[in-house]
Amino acid sequence: MDAMGEPVKENVIAIIAEQALLEPGDVTLEQTPDDLGLDSLALVEAIFAIEERFDISVPFNANTPSQNAFDITSVASIIDAVQQLVDEQNP
Protein backbone atom coordinates (compact mmCIF):
# COMPACT_ATOMS: atom_id res chain seq x y z
CA MET A 1 0.00 0.00 0.00
CA ASP A 2 1.09 3.59 -0.49
CA ALA A 3 0.31 6.46 1.83
CA MET A 4 -3.16 6.80 0.38
CA GLY A 5 -3.87 3.14 1.03
CA GLU A 6 -3.71 2.36 -2.69
CA PRO A 7 -2.32 -0.99 -3.70
CA VAL A 8 1.02 -0.47 -5.46
CA LYS A 9 0.81 -3.66 -7.48
CA GLU A 10 -2.53 -2.93 -9.15
CA ASN A 11 -1.58 0.64 -9.91
CA VAL A 12 1.80 -0.25 -11.41
CA ILE A 13 0.20 -2.97 -13.54
CA ALA A 14 -2.47 -0.54 -14.72
CA ILE A 15 0.22 1.98 -15.75
CA ILE A 16 2.26 -0.66 -17.56
CA ALA A 17 -0.84 -2.08 -19.24
CA GLU A 18 -1.80 1.34 -20.53
CA GLN A 19 1.65 1.83 -22.09
CA ALA A 20 1.63 -1.67 -23.56
CA LEU A 21 -1.90 -1.21 -24.94
CA LEU A 22 -3.07 -4.29 -23.00
CA GLU A 23 -5.78 -5.05 -20.48
CA PRO A 24 -4.33 -5.17 -16.92
CA GLY A 25 -5.46 -8.80 -16.73
CA ASP A 26 -3.14 -9.66 -19.60
CA VAL A 27 -0.02 -8.37 -17.82
CA THR A 28 1.83 -11.02 -15.82
CA LEU A 29 4.49 -10.56 -13.15
CA GLU A 30 7.17 -12.45 -15.08
CA GLN A 31 6.92 -10.35 -18.24
CA THR A 32 9.83 -8.10 -19.20
CA PRO A 33 9.48 -4.69 -20.85
CA ASP A 34 10.54 -6.40 -24.09
CA ASP A 35 7.83 -9.06 -23.73
CA LEU A 36 5.32 -6.27 -23.33
CA GLY A 37 6.60 -4.41 -26.37
CA LEU A 38 7.65 -1.40 -24.30
CA ASP A 39 10.34 0.60 -26.09
CA SER A 40 12.55 3.09 -24.28
CA LEU A 41 10.10 5.94 -24.82
CA ALA A 42 7.19 3.92 -23.41
CA LEU A 43 9.32 2.93 -20.44
CA VAL A 44 10.26 6.54 -19.71
CA GLU A 45 6.59 7.50 -19.97
CA ALA A 46 5.57 4.68 -17.63
CA ILE A 47 8.15 5.81 -15.08
CA PHE A 48 6.83 9.35 -15.32
CA ALA A 49 3.29 8.05 -14.71
CA ILE A 50 4.55 6.05 -11.71
CA GLU A 51 6.24 9.14 -10.27
CA GLU A 52 3.09 11.18 -10.69
CA ARG A 53 0.80 8.46 -9.35
CA PHE A 54 2.79 7.72 -6.19
CA ASP A 55 4.39 11.13 -5.71
CA ILE A 56 7.87 9.66 -5.73
CA SER A 57 11.10 10.30 -7.64
CA VAL A 58 12.39 7.31 -9.59
CA PRO A 59 16.13 7.18 -10.31
CA PHE A 60 16.31 6.08 -13.92
CA ASN A 61 18.64 7.04 -16.77
CA ALA A 62 17.63 5.59 -20.13
CA ASN A 63 21.30 5.38 -21.13
CA THR A 64 22.20 2.93 -18.39
CA PRO A 65 19.15 0.66 -18.15
CA SER A 66 21.04 -2.18 -16.46
CA GLN A 67 22.82 0.00 -13.89
CA ASN A 68 19.89 1.90 -12.50
CA ALA A 69 18.92 1.49 -8.87
CA PHE A 70 15.41 1.05 -10.26
CA ASP A 71 15.19 -2.56 -11.45
CA ILE A 72 13.13 -2.88 -14.62
CA THR A 73 13.91 -6.53 -15.33
CA SER A 74 10.28 -7.61 -15.03
CA VAL A 75 6.86 -6.39 -13.96
CA ALA A 76 7.48 -7.95 -10.55
CA SER A 77 10.82 -6.17 -10.12
CA ILE A 78 9.24 -2.86 -11.08
CA ILE A 79 6.48 -3.35 -8.50
CA ASP A 80 9.06 -4.19 -5.81
CA ALA A 81 11.16 -1.17 -6.74
CA VAL A 82 8.16 1.13 -6.64
CA GLN A 83 7.07 -0.27 -3.28
CA GLN A 84 10.55 0.36 -1.91
CA LEU A 85 10.58 3.94 -3.18
CA VAL A 86 7.11 4.57 -1.76
CA ASP A 87 8.25 3.25 1.61
CA GLU A 88 11.37 5.40 1.52
CA GLN A 89 10.06 8.61 0.05
CA ASN A 90 6.38 8.67 0.87
CA PRO A 91 5.74 6.42 3.87
Binding site: L41, V44, I47, F48, S57, N61, A62, N63, T64, P65
Partner: protein, 402 residues
Protein backbone atom coordinates in the same frame (compact mmCIF):
# COMPACT_ATOMS: atom_id res chain seq x y z
CA UNK B 1 27.75 24.61 -60.37
CA UNK B 2 29.89 27.02 -58.38
CA UNK B 3 32.56 25.92 -55.95
CA UNK B 4 31.87 27.04 -52.39
CA UNK B 5 34.53 28.12 -49.90
CA UNK B 6 34.53 29.35 -46.32
CA UNK B 7 36.14 32.76 -45.92
CA UNK B 8 35.18 33.69 -42.38
CA UNK B 9 34.36 32.06 -39.06
CA UNK B 10 33.22 33.29 -35.68
CA UNK B 11 31.98 31.77 -32.45
CA UNK B 12 31.12 32.17 -28.83
CA UNK B 13 30.64 29.03 -26.77
CA UNK B 14 31.70 27.50 -23.48
CA UNK B 15 35.24 26.99 -24.78
CA UNK B 16 35.85 30.56 -25.84
CA UNK B 17 34.62 33.89 -27.08
CA UNK B 18 36.29 33.49 -30.46
CA UNK B 19 37.61 30.93 -32.95
CA UNK B 20 41.25 30.98 -31.83
CA UNK B 21 40.35 30.48 -28.18
CA UNK B 22 37.88 27.71 -29.04
CA UNK B 23 40.31 25.83 -31.26
CA UNK B 24 43.03 26.15 -28.67
CA UNK B 25 40.69 24.64 -26.07
CA UNK B 26 39.69 21.84 -28.44
CA UNK B 27 43.30 21.07 -29.25
CA UNK B 28 44.09 20.89 -25.55
CA UNK B 29 41.07 18.82 -24.59
CA UNK B 30 39.64 21.52 -22.33
CA UNK B 31 36.25 20.72 -20.81
CA UNK B 32 33.74 23.57 -20.94
CA UNK B 33 31.18 21.67 -18.88
CA UNK B 34 30.65 22.70 -15.29
CA UNK B 35 28.13 23.50 -12.60
CA UNK B 36 25.21 25.46 -13.98
CA UNK B 37 24.84 28.99 -12.73
CA UNK B 38 21.14 29.64 -13.34
CA UNK B 39 18.03 30.56 -11.41
CA UNK B 40 16.28 27.70 -9.56
CA UNK B 41 19.09 25.24 -10.29
CA UNK B 42 18.27 23.59 -6.94
CA UNK B 43 14.96 22.39 -8.46
CA UNK B 44 16.75 20.62 -11.30
CA UNK B 45 18.09 17.09 -11.16
CA UNK B 46 20.56 17.89 -13.96
CA UNK B 47 22.87 20.62 -12.70
CA UNK B 48 25.71 20.68 -15.20
CA UNK B 49 26.06 22.28 -18.61
CA UNK B 50 28.51 23.99 -20.95
CA UNK B 51 27.65 27.61 -20.23
CA UNK B 52 29.15 30.66 -21.86
CA UNK B 53 30.92 32.40 -18.99
CA UNK B 54 32.41 35.85 -18.49
CA UNK B 55 29.82 37.22 -20.85
CA UNK B 56 27.98 40.41 -20.19
CA UNK B 57 25.58 41.67 -22.90
CA UNK B 58 26.20 45.26 -21.77
CA UNK B 59 29.78 44.98 -22.99
CA UNK B 60 28.57 44.40 -26.54
CA UNK B 61 25.11 45.88 -26.98
CA UNK B 62 23.25 49.02 -25.96
CA UNK B 63 20.10 49.06 -23.86
CA UNK B 64 17.78 49.22 -26.87
CA UNK B 65 19.52 46.28 -28.54
CA UNK B 66 19.39 44.20 -25.39
CA UNK B 67 15.64 44.76 -25.17
CA UNK B 68 15.38 43.16 -28.64
CA UNK B 69 18.09 40.49 -28.54
CA UNK B 70 17.50 37.20 -26.77
CA UNK B 71 20.69 35.48 -25.64
CA UNK B 72 20.65 33.25 -28.76
CA UNK B 73 20.57 36.38 -30.94
CA UNK B 74 23.36 38.00 -28.92
CA UNK B 75 25.53 34.93 -29.43
CA UNK B 76 24.73 34.92 -33.15
CA UNK B 77 25.58 38.58 -33.65
CA UNK B 78 28.92 38.22 -31.86
CA UNK B 79 29.84 35.19 -33.95
CA UNK B 80 28.68 36.87 -37.17
CA UNK B 81 30.77 39.95 -36.39
CA UNK B 82 33.93 37.87 -36.14
CA UNK B 83 33.11 35.91 -39.30
CA UNK B 84 32.37 38.98 -41.41
CA UNK B 85 35.47 40.75 -40.10
CA UNK B 86 37.65 37.79 -41.03
CA UNK B 87 36.12 37.57 -44.51
CA UNK B 88 36.80 41.25 -45.15
CA UNK B 89 33.46 41.54 -46.97
CA UNK B 90 31.37 44.69 -47.08
CA UNK B 91 27.86 44.20 -48.29
CA UNK B 92 26.49 46.83 -50.63
CA UNK B 93 24.95 47.03 -54.09
CA UNK B 94 24.78 43.79 -56.05
CA UNK B 95 26.71 41.85 -53.40
CA UNK B 96 24.21 42.86 -50.71
CA UNK B 97 21.32 41.84 -52.92
CA UNK B 98 22.87 38.46 -53.69
CA UNK B 99 23.91 37.65 -50.12
CA UNK B 100 21.80 36.27 -47.33
CA UNK B 101 21.81 34.47 -44.03
CA UNK B 102 20.49 31.04 -43.09
CA UNK B 103 20.86 29.91 -39.50
CA UNK B 104 19.86 26.95 -37.40
CA UNK B 105 18.28 27.02 -33.98
CA UNK B 106 16.04 24.51 -32.27
CA UNK B 107 14.47 26.67 -29.61
CA UNK B 108 15.04 30.27 -30.61
CA UNK B 109 14.45 32.61 -27.71
CA UNK B 110 13.88 29.98 -25.03
CA UNK B 111 15.13 32.20 -22.20
CA UNK B 112 12.80 35.00 -23.27
CA UNK B 113 9.91 32.54 -23.22
CA UNK B 114 10.96 31.15 -19.85
CA UNK B 115 11.33 34.59 -18.25
CA UNK B 116 7.97 35.77 -19.51
CA UNK B 117 6.06 32.59 -18.62
CA UNK B 118 7.51 32.99 -15.16
CA UNK B 119 6.30 36.54 -15.01
CA UNK B 120 2.71 35.83 -16.09
CA UNK B 121 2.19 32.43 -14.48
CA UNK B 122 4.38 32.47 -11.39
CA UNK B 123 4.35 36.15 -10.54
CA UNK B 124 0.80 36.65 -11.79
CA UNK B 125 1.63 39.69 -13.89
CA UNK B 126 -0.81 40.60 -16.62
CA UNK B 127 1.62 42.52 -18.81
CA UNK B 128 4.76 41.51 -20.70
CA UNK B 129 7.37 43.57 -22.49
CA UNK B 130 6.19 44.62 -25.98
CA UNK B 131 9.14 42.91 -27.70
CA UNK B 132 8.57 39.37 -26.44
CA UNK B 133 7.49 38.07 -29.83
CA UNK B 134 10.22 39.67 -31.97
CA UNK B 135 12.74 38.62 -29.34
CA UNK B 136 11.81 34.94 -29.04
CA UNK B 137 10.94 34.09 -32.64
CA UNK B 138 13.26 31.51 -34.18
CA UNK B 139 14.20 33.78 -37.07
CA UNK B 140 15.12 36.75 -34.85
CA UNK B 141 18.85 36.00 -35.02
CA UNK B 142 18.88 35.60 -38.81
CA UNK B 143 16.88 38.79 -39.23
CA UNK B 144 19.18 40.82 -36.97
CA UNK B 145 22.21 39.52 -38.87
CA UNK B 146 20.58 40.53 -42.15
CA UNK B 147 19.95 44.03 -40.79
CA UNK B 148 23.40 44.38 -39.27
CA UNK B 149 25.17 43.50 -42.54
CA UNK B 150 22.63 44.63 -45.14
CA UNK B 151 22.07 41.11 -46.45
CA UNK B 152 19.13 41.39 -48.82
CA UNK B 153 19.16 37.97 -50.46
CA UNK B 154 17.70 34.63 -49.36
CA UNK B 155 17.45 34.58 -45.57
CA UNK B 156 15.67 32.19 -43.25
CA UNK B 157 15.97 29.94 -40.21
CA UNK B 158 16.00 26.17 -40.08
CA UNK B 159 14.69 24.28 -37.05
CA UNK B 160 15.48 20.59 -37.15
CA UNK B 161 16.39 20.05 -33.50
CA UNK B 162 19.98 18.81 -33.16
CA UNK B 163 20.61 18.95 -36.91
CA UNK B 164 19.45 22.58 -37.36
CA UNK B 165 22.89 24.07 -38.03
CA UNK B 166 23.94 21.35 -40.41
CA UNK B 167 20.69 21.69 -42.32
CA UNK B 168 21.18 25.47 -42.37
CA UNK B 169 24.76 25.22 -43.62
CA UNK B 170 23.63 22.71 -46.24
CA UNK B 171 21.08 25.21 -47.50
CA UNK B 172 23.71 27.96 -47.58
CA UNK B 173 26.03 25.63 -49.49
CA UNK B 174 23.40 24.86 -52.09
CA UNK B 175 22.34 28.50 -52.44
CA UNK B 176 25.91 29.53 -53.25
CA UNK B 177 26.65 26.43 -55.32
CA UNK B 178 23.58 26.96 -57.49
CA UNK B 179 24.36 30.64 -58.02
CA UNK B 180 21.29 31.84 -56.13
CA UNK B 181 23.57 33.68 -53.72
CA UNK B 182 27.15 34.97 -53.92
CA UNK B 183 27.80 34.75 -50.20
CA UNK B 184 25.80 33.36 -47.31
CA UNK B 185 26.29 33.85 -43.61
CA UNK B 186 25.40 30.56 -42.01
CA UNK B 187 25.70 28.46 -38.89
CA UNK B 188 23.54 28.35 -35.82
CA UNK B 189 22.89 29.30 -32.25
CA UNK B 190 21.22 28.00 -29.12
CA UNK B 191 20.65 29.40 -25.64
CA UNK B 192 18.35 27.16 -23.65
CA UNK B 193 20.31 26.82 -20.43
CA UNK B 194 17.53 28.12 -18.24
CA UNK B 195 15.22 26.37 -15.78
CA UNK B 196 12.52 25.49 -18.33
CA UNK B 197 15.01 24.60 -21.04
CA UNK B 198 16.76 22.05 -18.86
CA UNK B 199 13.65 20.81 -17.04
CA UNK B 200 12.17 19.75 -20.38
CA UNK B 201 15.27 17.72 -21.25
CA UNK B 202 15.37 16.12 -17.80
CA UNK B 203 12.04 14.51 -18.56
CA UNK B 204 13.50 12.36 -21.32
CA UNK B 205 15.98 10.80 -18.87
CA UNK B 206 18.82 10.87 -21.36
CA UNK B 207 20.91 13.51 -19.58
CA UNK B 208 24.12 12.85 -17.70
CA UNK B 209 24.53 14.35 -14.25
CA UNK B 210 28.27 13.92 -14.43
CA UNK B 211 29.95 14.38 -17.84
CA UNK B 212 29.47 13.85 -21.56
CA UNK B 213 31.53 10.75 -22.45
CA UNK B 214 30.79 9.91 -26.07
CA UNK B 215 31.71 6.37 -27.18
CA UNK B 216 32.91 5.43 -23.69
CA UNK B 217 31.34 2.19 -22.43
CA UNK B 218 30.35 3.99 -19.22
CA UNK B 219 28.68 6.95 -20.96
CA UNK B 220 25.41 7.94 -19.37
CA UNK B 221 23.97 10.68 -21.49
CA UNK B 222 24.22 14.08 -23.03
CA UNK B 223 25.09 17.44 -21.50
CA UNK B 224 23.60 20.63 -22.88
CA UNK B 225 25.69 23.56 -24.03
CA UNK B 226 25.02 27.01 -25.44
CA UNK B 227 26.56 29.42 -27.90
CA UNK B 228 26.82 30.07 -31.61
CA UNK B 229 29.08 29.75 -34.59
CA UNK B 230 28.69 31.62 -37.87
CA UNK B 231 30.58 31.20 -41.15
CA UNK B 232 30.87 33.04 -44.43
CA UNK B 233 30.18 30.67 -47.33
CA UNK B 234 31.31 32.30 -50.57
CA UNK B 235 31.40 31.59 -54.27
CA UNK B 236 35.00 30.51 -54.87
CA UNK B 237 35.41 32.73 -57.95
CA UNK B 238 34.22 35.72 -55.97
CA UNK B 239 36.59 34.92 -53.11
CA UNK B 240 39.51 34.36 -55.48
CA UNK B 241 38.87 37.57 -57.40
CA UNK B 242 39.11 39.63 -54.22
CA UNK B 243 42.08 37.67 -52.87
CA UNK B 244 40.25 36.40 -49.80
CA UNK B 245 41.85 33.94 -47.41
CA UNK B 246 40.12 30.60 -47.84
CA UNK B 247 39.66 28.45 -44.73
CA UNK B 248 38.45 25.36 -46.59
CA UNK B 249 36.07 24.22 -49.31
CA UNK B 250 32.57 22.85 -48.74
CA UNK B 251 32.18 19.99 -51.19
CA UNK B 252 29.20 17.85 -50.28
CA UNK B 253 25.96 17.78 -48.38
CA UNK B 254 23.09 15.38 -47.92
CA UNK B 255 20.03 15.14 -45.76
CA UNK B 256 17.80 12.16 -45.08
CA UNK B 257 14.83 11.30 -42.94
CA UNK B 258 14.59 8.05 -40.97
CA UNK B 259 10.78 8.13 -41.26
CA UNK B 260 10.81 5.79 -38.27
CA UNK B 261 10.81 7.10 -34.70
CA UNK B 262 10.52 10.47 -32.98
CA UNK B 263 13.53 9.91 -30.70
CA UNK B 264 15.37 6.69 -31.57
CA UNK B 265 18.01 7.09 -34.30
CA UNK B 266 18.24 4.78 -37.28
CA UNK B 267 21.41 3.29 -38.66
CA UNK B 268 20.01 3.27 -42.18
CA UNK B 269 18.97 6.93 -42.07
CA UNK B 270 22.36 8.00 -40.73
CA UNK B 271 24.25 5.85 -43.21
CA UNK B 272 22.25 7.19 -46.15
CA UNK B 273 23.06 10.76 -45.09
CA UNK B 274 26.78 10.01 -44.81
CA UNK B 275 26.76 8.18 -48.14
CA UNK B 276 24.74 10.95 -49.75
CA UNK B 277 27.16 13.68 -48.68
CA UNK B 278 30.07 11.64 -50.05
CA UNK B 279 28.31 11.03 -53.35
CA UNK B 280 27.37 14.71 -53.59
CA UNK B 281 30.98 15.78 -53.02
CA UNK B 282 32.55 12.97 -55.09
CA UNK B 283 34.31 11.86 -51.91
CA UNK B 284 35.83 8.37 -51.86
CA UNK B 285 35.84 6.45 -48.57
CA UNK B 286 39.64 6.39 -48.61
CA UNK B 287 39.74 10.21 -48.83
CA UNK B 288 38.00 10.78 -45.51
CA UNK B 289 40.50 11.27 -42.70
CA UNK B 290 38.20 12.56 -39.98
CA UNK B 291 34.55 12.58 -39.04
CA UNK B 292 33.24 15.00 -36.48
CA UNK B 293 30.63 12.74 -34.95
CA UNK B 294 27.20 13.65 -33.74
CA UNK B 295 28.40 11.70 -30.65
CA UNK B 296 25.90 12.82 -28.06
CA UNK B 297 27.07 10.44 -25.35
CA UNK B 298 23.74 8.63 -25.25
CA UNK B 299 23.53 4.88 -25.38
CA UNK B 300 21.52 4.86 -28.59
CA UNK B 301 23.21 7.54 -30.69
CA UNK B 302 26.81 6.50 -30.26
CA UNK B 303 26.21 2.83 -30.97
CA UNK B 304 24.10 3.51 -34.03
CA UNK B 305 26.40 6.23 -35.36
CA UNK B 306 29.41 3.91 -35.17
CA UNK B 307 27.46 1.15 -36.90
CA UNK B 308 26.37 3.56 -39.64
CA UNK B 309 29.95 4.75 -40.22
CA UNK B 310 31.22 1.17 -40.31
CA UNK B 311 28.52 0.25 -42.84
CA UNK B 312 29.43 3.12 -45.13
CA UNK B 313 33.21 2.83 -44.86
CA UNK B 314 33.58 -0.93 -44.69
CA UNK B 315 37.29 -1.80 -44.88
CA UNK B 316 38.25 1.90 -44.66
CA UNK B 317 36.64 2.33 -41.23
CA UNK B 318 39.81 1.56 -39.32
CA UNK B 319 41.77 4.16 -41.26
CA UNK B 320 39.62 7.11 -40.27
CA UNK B 321 39.43 9.09 -37.04
CA UNK B 322 36.16 10.12 -35.48
CA UNK B 323 35.65 12.27 -32.39
CA UNK B 324 32.86 14.01 -30.59
CA UNK B 325 33.73 17.51 -29.43
CA UNK B 326 30.43 17.62 -27.49
CA UNK B 327 32.51 16.15 -24.68
CA UNK B 328 34.05 19.64 -24.42
CA UNK B 329 31.47 22.22 -25.57
CA UNK B 330 28.36 20.23 -24.71
CA UNK B 331 25.42 19.68 -26.99
CA UNK B 332 24.40 23.04 -28.41
CA UNK B 333 21.26 21.43 -29.86
CA UNK B 334 20.37 23.63 -32.86
CA UNK B 335 23.77 25.34 -32.79
CA UNK B 336 25.90 22.28 -32.34
CA UNK B 337 26.82 21.51 -35.97
CA UNK B 338 28.12 25.05 -36.37
CA UNK B 339 30.51 24.88 -33.42
CA UNK B 340 31.55 21.40 -34.53
CA UNK B 341 32.41 22.69 -37.99
CA UNK B 342 35.22 24.60 -36.29
CA UNK B 343 36.81 21.28 -35.31
CA UNK B 344 36.55 20.23 -38.95
CA UNK B 345 38.28 23.41 -40.11
CA UNK B 346 41.04 22.87 -37.52
CA UNK B 347 41.54 19.33 -38.80
CA UNK B 348 41.86 20.52 -42.40
CA UNK B 349 43.93 23.65 -41.82
CA UNK B 350 46.10 22.73 -38.89
CA UNK B 351 46.09 18.93 -39.06
CA UNK B 352 44.93 18.83 -35.44
CA UNK B 353 42.19 16.35 -34.64
CA UNK B 354 40.13 17.43 -31.63
CA UNK B 355 39.73 14.64 -29.08
CA UNK B 356 36.75 12.95 -27.46
CA UNK B 357 37.52 13.81 -23.86
CA UNK B 358 36.17 12.04 -20.78
CA UNK B 359 36.61 8.68 -22.48
CA UNK B 360 37.34 6.01 -19.88
CA UNK B 361 36.45 2.63 -21.25
CA UNK B 362 36.36 1.16 -24.75
CA UNK B 363 32.92 0.07 -25.93
CA UNK B 364 32.85 -2.89 -28.32
CA UNK B 365 29.79 -1.27 -29.92
CA UNK B 366 31.88 1.82 -30.70
CA UNK B 367 35.03 0.14 -31.99
CA UNK B 368 36.27 3.07 -34.09
CA UNK B 369 39.31 5.28 -33.65
CA UNK B 370 37.57 7.87 -31.54
CA UNK B 371 40.68 9.97 -30.72
CA UNK B 372 40.28 9.41 -27.00
CA UNK B 373 41.23 12.18 -24.59
CA UNK B 374 44.25 13.58 -26.46
CA UNK B 375 44.23 15.59 -29.68
CA UNK B 376 46.22 14.12 -32.50
CA UNK B 377 48.39 15.80 -35.12
CA UNK B 378 47.63 14.16 -38.44
CA UNK B 379 47.11 15.92 -41.74
CA UNK B 380 43.74 15.17 -43.31
CA UNK B 381 42.41 16.23 -46.70
CA UNK B 382 38.69 15.58 -46.40
CA UNK B 383 36.37 15.53 -43.40
CA UNK B 384 32.70 14.95 -42.68
CA UNK B 385 30.47 16.46 -40.02
CA UNK B 386 27.48 14.43 -38.84
CA UNK B 387 24.25 15.64 -37.28
CA UNK B 388 21.32 13.36 -36.49
CA UNK B 389 18.28 14.99 -34.95
CA UNK B 390 15.36 13.88 -32.85
CA UNK B 391 12.61 13.29 -35.33
CA UNK B 392 14.98 11.25 -37.49
CA UNK B 393 16.27 14.15 -39.58
CA UNK B 394 19.90 13.73 -40.59
CA UNK B 395 22.30 16.18 -42.22
CA UNK B 396 25.94 15.55 -43.14
CA UNK B 397 28.45 18.00 -44.60
CA UNK B 398 31.68 17.21 -46.44
CA UNK B 399 34.63 19.63 -46.42
CA UNK B 400 37.97 19.59 -48.17
CA UNK B 401 41.31 21.21 -47.48
CA UNK B 402 41.92 24.15 -49.74
Amino acid sequence: MKRVVITGAGTINALGHGVAETLDAMANGVCGIGALDIRDVDRLSVRIGAQVTNFSPQDHFNRQQISLYDRFTQFTLLAAKQAVAQSGLEFSGDLARSSGVVLGTAGGGVITGDDNYRSVYEQGKNRVHPFVVPKLMNNAAASHVSMEYNLQGPSFTVATACASSNHAMGQAFNLVRSGMATTMLTGGSEAMLCFGGIKAWEGLRVMSKDACRPFSADRDGMVQGEGAAVFVFEDYEHARARGAEILCEVVGFAMTSDAADIVMPSKQGAARAIQGAMRDGAINPADVGYINAHGTGTLANDKIECAAVADVFGGHTDALMMSSTKSMHGHLIGGTGAVELLACIMALRDGIIAPTIGHRQADPDCALDIVANQARETPVGTVLSNAFAFGGLNAVLGLRKF
